[in-house]
Symmetry: C2
Subunit: 309 residues, 2 copies
């Protein structure tokens, strides 16, 4: 009798990952591709990315042995069903994948518990209550313009804002201000602080999402003791903990997204504030999706083996 | 001997206005056209708008009698010099116009004093110190993404933010929330508050400048006693007064921009906070530009007659 395999898909706004596992958790294949979020990048691009990653993950694997597939997709997951079914069938996988949201996958990437909460801060920020491994309630996730408090974008915008207001007020420039100015303007000389500020404002407005990259500078300055940066970090942590506090009932809190999974001042401040609560960190989302698929075939599928890859 | 005339130009982001006056202030012609801000709309479009407005303003006027012209232009005024000189010459005006920034014009639209401050809140917000009828220092004006505290955009974004966060938290919806939801979604039914919120966030992000239109709803709700809207209005007024406080030394404060020149709660709150300071309201900018041109020919040119048109 052939061993049953499972496929897990984690289709995100930055990259798409596909993992193939045996039911005991052994990883048989793994593939990555470009962004796979249909809401952000369109159905065609998302399907193509998932197909590419699947192709890589199935290298040397007998697709006919796949007995279950689960895909976690942000936003309008349903819309992908038809195209993913066609891709699965083309790859010789007997059943079409089950599509679920990205939130339960991110939670499962950090915990095997059925209930708990997810606190994610990457480019955006959202908290979610998970009940029976499904999404039960959301808080924030309201986008860069009106919400996402404590996200990478939010932190970066706060850093850029603090820097231009400091220059506008003629206050002495600390490390954060220097890092922000160099980030936008390089080492170029400018006739006045006002000219610098006008140029930074124009560059930031021309491509507002580049502010997310400034969050790294805020963290760097905070680690070096810059008070302005440290207060942005503390405010971000306050926001994130308040956001998850609005949905959390019981069980562990899983931290996800680059701002919270990378070592640094935001993660540290959030962990401080959550002391006394069970907290874990999301690991591989594709492995977690494969684990959720495996659970449907074997309730004892080992979480650790699937998600540590 | 023929009477000397002057031409004043106020080229703004929304519209361009040109006024032709005799030195005693008598208005001889007036023309309006589309946006004339070269930084926002490009040199060609700005020149064309100024040319169109000039054309209208000179109807029935002997252009050869024009002895001075002054154009107030936001942003990169210098770049317009060549094309405006060509337009002036084509219209038979003996001398090319002098180009200055829009800030001294806006101040002169509210006061004949040589020194004082301008506080402008329209779509954006900026304060300026004027010394000897020239720009001496700026505060804020840092754009919709990082600054412009208390501007129409800032107030509208605060209103939209308050509304989506209220829905996200499941708090009871007051008048402001109702107005914002109707503004974005009409009377359509939605399956849940979260669906409403997601849709509003998406619409706002797709065209963020439409948030400036929400400021009107914030003012409407504040006038009707909505506490959330009233606190946004108070915060906006605090920001605006703090911004002008950073530049103001002496003389009158001129209020400009639609948020501060229209009757309403923001103007009222700003006036309350400035009680004890001489405050006036900007009137016609093209007339003010013509007055500044006239001053160079006659130091007694009557301010009132030029700007009340």
């Amino acid at each position: 009798m052939t061993k049953p395999f499972v496929v897990g898909v984690d289709a995100g706004a930055t990259s798409t990952r596909v993992a193939v596992h045996a039911l005991d958790g052994t990883r048989l294949g793994y593939g990555t591709a470009g962004p796979g979020n249909p809401s952000a990048h369109g159905l065609a691009k998302a399907s193509a990315a998932i197909g590419d990653a699947l192709d890589l993950a199935l290298t040397g694997v007998d697709a006919a042995q796949v007995r279950g597939s689960l895909a976690g997709v942000a936003g309008q997951a349903d819309a992908l069903h038809e195209s993913l079914s066609a891709i699965w069938s083309r790859h010789g996988i007997p059943q079409a994948p089950t599509l679920i949201g990205d939130v339960p996958i991110a939670f499962a990437a950090g915990s095997s518990a059925p209930d708990g909460s997810l606190l994610l801060s990457g480019t955006g920020a959202v908290a979610a209550r998970i009940a029976g491994r499904e999404l039960d309630a959301l808080a924030d996730g309201l986008g860069w313009l009106l919400g996402d408090h404590g996200s990478g974008f939010w932190i970066g915008r706060a850093g850029a804002k603090a820097a231009v207001h400091c220059l506008d007020r003629g206050q002495p420039a600390g490390l954060l201000v220097e890092l922000v100015v160099t980030h936008f303007l390089g080492e170029q000389e400018w006739p006045s602080d006002r000219a610098k500020v006008d140029r930074i404002v124009r560059l930031a407005q021309a491509d507002h999402m580049r502010l997310a990259a400034v969050s790294r500078l805020v963290c760097q300055a905070a680690e070096a003791g810059d008070a302005m940066a440290a207060s942005i970090v503390e405010e971000a942590a306050d926001h994130l903990v308040a956001t998850v506090g609005r949905v959390h009932h019981s069980g562990p809190i899983v931290l996800a997204g680059s701002v919270l999974t990378s070592e640094g001042p935001v993660r540290r401040s959030v962990l401080d504030r959550l002391a006394g609560t069970e907290v874990s960190t999301a690991r591989d989302g594709a492995g977690a999706a494969a684990w959720l698929a495996a659970l449907r075939l074997d309730p004892d599928a080992p979480h650790e083996a699937f998600t540590s890859g």
